[in-house]
Amino acid sequence: MTEDGLAIQRARAGDATAFDLLVRRHQSQLRAFLLRLTGGRHALADDLAQDTFLLAWRKLAQFREDGSFIGWLLRIAWSRYLMEARRRKWEPLADTEAGSVDPRQGHIDRLDLEQALAQVAPVERAALTLCCALGFSHPEAARILDMPLGTLKSHVLRGREKLRMLMLERDVTHD
């Protein structure tokens, strides 16, 4: 059994420290995913991540061992994000706000990517992040985003194409 599997088993039996361990283990990936989805809104991403963990605790009995725990968490996070987006009727962020990545931490390329990602549709952003940055297979990503495999693949393709155009425009502007 995996380390996650053991912790889940203990948490299901009511061991709160086991669940704490799961929170500590997965918080970074979950928050980074939500940070990208929310276009760099740190406080909101953390609120959603917290909600995700609270929901996961309540629904732990529903977790089936046939997938990864982080995949299950990301699925809850995605559905929480969609609810929040509908509630707030989000407007896209202004270019200066989008992707508030600290340039000291990465290269200018990465900053460009985050800014470009903030301009593509959230579902495309999520699909690209899951398949490219987080390394999920297409079927896994489709399950996380609760959509048919074909739809997921077209989101990935469309998102990549939009990004390519955006990055190209940016390069032209910079030159």
């Binding site: 704490d20 929170v23 500590r24 918080q27 970074s28 609270l54 990517l113 987080l134």
Partner: protein, 100 residues
């Protein structure tokens, strides 16, 4: 261009330092658990109170009272026994409530 984009997209997401996030989440979870236990205890206590108040006026209450008067003396003892039995069935949430 496409190669560069693929390379950028494939970069793992930046590690986010915990900075107390896990502790805050755990504290919230604990609070949620306590609230739930408290809520359940209040519900159970309400049910017990209701039973104690209503039972004497029902057939079951009369039967219990007569059995109690036969076996242990008074109807009050019978009701108290019933209440204690009920409380012991709901022992766990009541304990948590007392701990709060």
């Amino acid at each position: 261009m496409t190669d560069n984009l693929d390379r950028l997209l494939a970069q793992p997401l930046a590690e986010i330092p915990d900075n107390g996030f896990s502790s805050r989440t755990s504290a919230l979870l604990e609070l949620q658990r306590l609230r739930r236990s408290r809520f359940l205890t209040e519900i159970y206590a309400g049910l017990v109170l209701l039973a104690v108040l209503v039972l004497p006026f029902t057939q079951a209450g009369s039967a219990l009272a007569s059995a109690a008067s036969t076996h242990a003396g008074t109807a009050l003892i019978g009701l108290a026994t019933a209440a204690i039995l009920l409380m012991s069935l709901l022992k766990r949430p009541a304990k948590i409530h007392l701990a709060i």
